[in-house]
Each structure stands twice: as C-alpha cells, then as structure tokens.
Symmetry: C2
Subunit: 304 residues, 2 copies
Amino acid sequence: MVCKCGGKVYFRRKYEGTELCKKCFVRSIEKKIKKEIRINNLISKNDRICVAISGGKDSTACLYILNEIVKKRKDMEIFAISIDEGIGEYRKKTISKAKELCELLNVPIKIYSFKEEFGKTLPEILNHRINACTYCGVLRRYLLNKKARENKATKLAFGFNLNDEAESILMNFVFGNLEKFLRLGAKVENKEIKKFVPRIKPLREIPEEEVFAYCKALNLPHYPKKECPYGKESVRKTIRKFLYELEDRYPGSLFQIVKFADLLIPPLRKEFYKKGKIKYCKICSEPSSKEICKVCELLEKTNL
Amino acid sequence: MVCKCGGKVYFRRKYEGTELCKKCFVRSIEKKIKKEIRINNLISKNDRICVAISGGKDSTACLYILNEIVKKRKDMEIFAISIDEGIGEYRKKTISKAKELCELLNVPIKIYSFKEEFGKTLPEILNHRINACTYCGVLRRYLLNKKARENKATKLAFGFNLNDEAESILMNFVFGNLEKFLRLGAKVENKEIKKFVPRIKPLREIPEEEVFAYCKALNLPHYPKKECPYGKESVRKTIRKFLYELEDRYPGSLFQIVKFADLLIPPLRKEFYKKGKIKYCKICSEPSSKEICKVCELLEKTNL
C-alpha cells in the first residue's frame, strides 16, 4: 500500500482507514492542530504565548507548531517555561532536551525550580509520601501560572494530547469530580480571576502515538521515555489501560469521549457555575477557591 | 469478627467497612431499596405494578421486595411478566424458575413469547446475525411495554442492579450516546407519550453481589447462572471488566458513577430535550421517535 500521493507509507491511521507518507502525515497533523486552534479561538491577535515544556514529545510538538505559527506574525510572541522539580537524573535529561529544542527554534526559555521557589525539591517535599503526582501537579501548575503571568504571557499552552484529555475526562467522570470535570476543554479561562492566565491545549485532538510519530518525522529533539520515576499514579493507569483496550477494539473511541464531553460541559457549566466572590490566597495572593490555596496548604503540611 | 448485633457474619461490605449477619444484611438491603423508592417516588397510590421477570437473581429480588410492600396495601396491585424469546433450554429453565417464584409469592404471572407475538423465536429472527443483544433488547422492551400497558400497569419495574446501571452509564458515556444517556435514572417516564408505561429500577443502588446474597439469604427460587448463551456482547463486557477492577481498587466507585450521573443528567435533559411531536409507529402504532419504530424496522430487516 502507498500513500494517496504515491509516497512510501509512514503512518497507518486505524480510525480513519488511511495510510500516509511522512510528508502527508506531518501536513495532516498540522492541519488538524490549526483547525483546532481556529475553531476554539485558542490564540488571537497580540498574544504572548507561554508554552509549558518538559522536554517530552507532547510539549515539544506543541512548542514547535505554535512557533511555526507565531514566527510568521509580527503581533505575536512566544516563549517557553520549564519547571525543574528536582527529580534527579530524569529531570536533568528532559530539561537539557528542552533547552536543545529552544535553541534550535530560537525560542527564549525560562527555567524555574521547586528548590528556588519553594525551598525544597519534590523528593524533599514528598518525604516518602505516596501521592507524588498530586503534589507535583498542583505545585507545577501553580508555578507555571505565576511565572507565565510574571513574564506577561496572555496564554499558557500545554501539550496535552488526545489520550491525556480522554483520560482526564473519564477519570473525573468515574470519580465524580464535578469541579475538575467542568474545567476540561480546549481552552480554560476565567475572566473573573485576573491572576489566572488562560490555558490552551492545541494538541488535544491528536492521539499520543501520532504526536510521537510527528516528533520523529521532524526529528525534533525530545526525551523519548514517557514515565517520570514517580509516575505510578495507579488511578490514571487503570483508566489508561481501559482506554487502550477500548480504542483498540473500537477505533475512534478516544475522539468520541472528547467530543461527548465537549457537548455536555458547556450546558453543565451554565448550570453549576455560580458567580461567587473571587478569592485570593491569604498567604501567597494567588487565585484560590478557599482562604488558603492548595499549594500553601500542601506546603504547610510538609512543614516547609 | 461478628455483626454489630452479635450474630455470625454473613456478608462483608468492603465499601462501608461493615460485616453483617444474615438478618441484618437482609434488613439493610430492604431499607436501602425502600429509601430509593421513597426518595425517587418510584411507586405511588393506586399503582398497578408490572415486574419484568426473567427468572434470574435481579428480577427475583425485585419482585420479592415490591410484593412485600404491595401485599400490605389495599390500593396497590402487582403482577409479573416474563418474555420467552425462545432461547432453547436456557429460557425454559429460567421461566420455570420465574413461575415457581410467582406461585410461592402468590403473584399472577403472564408469559409472552417472541414466537406468538412476532411469529419467530430469537434464534429464527437472528439467523446467524452477531448482535443478538441489540435485537433481543429492543424486541423485549417493546413487548414488555406493550403487554404491561395492555394489562393496565401504571409502572413497569426492572431488576437492574448497581453494576448494570453503572455499566449503562459508562457505556453510553464512552460511546457518546446522548439519547440513551439522558434516559438513564431511577425512574424513566415520558408523560407526553401515553402509550409509554413509566419504568422504575428499585435495585439500582444495590451491588450485584449483594442482590445475589440477598436471594440466597431468603432462599428465593431463581436460576443461578448469569449468562444467556447469546451474551457475548463485547462492549458491555469490556466496560464490566474495567468496572470490576475499578471497584476492587477503589471501593465505592460504582456508587460514585451512578451518583455523578444523577447529578449531571437533570440539567442536561433540560438543555437537550426539545418538545417535539410525539410520533407513533405507522405499522404497529407503538411510541416511536421515527415514522417506523425500531422493532418494525428490525422485523422488516429479518423479512418476518
């Protein structure tokens, strides 16, 4: 079999029944992402986009494609932020890849560390606690929002792919987490909270294996191993395993889940979002739903 | 360990961390079901309840408990309907158990068969088609509604347990079936459609294994094997396997899924239900969303 252009097949899309050469595959990925950006108004005039990069394939692809768009425009800017949680050799290697990518693309990169910002690395904070991902996720998002804002970003872009998004949807659905469920979507903004930088996910319709194949096709520098040494978060793994099986048996299932959530979430937001007083944390002044934000609460617990 | 009453432990409830003797277990199940009936107004004055029974544990428990309530009241009536799809020995055995139960409880039973109603048994209709469950489910629900109505029932009760309900919720969620998703719940009614008998599910908060233990504790006659010979519907099996694993790791997950769906569905119904013209099938005059109902469409396809 050959690609419809006659070229040698590089990627087989089971859910579409298509086979694409490297060039057609790359073009099709970029077309999809640009369509996602256009339909959901992910970026707009005069945006200064901050891309959260880890050195992994997803954020690498995200930075690359956003830079391709931004570099052609005079009214937009782009930069990258990496968070160094201090997870030993693993983070050192991924950050070195992130730097390499930014140098290649000529995109400024800023690196912030848990050690400097919170006084301790993740391993020091955890001190043998099990739920590393909860701590790390909360602290990382907090720091990214704060640093993006301090660097005058108008958008904060994440490299979440289709699998990540379907996993988050299903996880919050089966565990009945309404607050997090309603926060899902291609764009998350909260105009009432001035300190919150709107988040965008340009890759949320691209399956994980296609993001990987895209990085490989373009030979983009990235750290190939997926798993962080702490990544044993079993909830997400149970969900992931189920979704792999589902997608394998019923190709297109992941798309369907994301599409269905996109249909349900807007009317649910209307119903459940009541305009409440916006609070800011009494300790750090960052946006919070409670008097003390989750980060300060966690840091308090760890006696920081 | 002993039950809080001092009796010998009969059932261990992992999600509650309780251990119950036979008597306390039976009482707790009945209390839960009665609460479910009360909170959701499942039955009301002057009801004539039709219970769909298959001979299996779920419908057995459902008939037993509803009869316990109805027999104490003068304004209510109860009867059972069994559908004989003509699935050979399997259905013969289950129907014989259903009859035994009704005799024991002194509840009238009516048996209707695919052969008499549609002219063919399920195996004859299927003629080697794979999706037996789709055909059978549609035809069975159609016949139950029609016969319940002809027998002047005001409610049609099903023995769906917690696992069934969580499975249906997740199945319709991951496959993005909005119509079916919105039809889930403890009570399904459609006042606009006169020919539709309101459906109730009194057991939807009872886990499958507890329904089983309940039947065993009361020594209720039922056919113990779960699986119909056609029951190879792989979609539901994939979902079931995942939910078993989830409940095992995170006891209480099944409840959480049902509770979350109960929270989301009412506002979604408000948003998505537009009052359309109620249609009745041109061929059989039963309620239908299209000109020709699903049953007549299926029967047409099978050249009946």
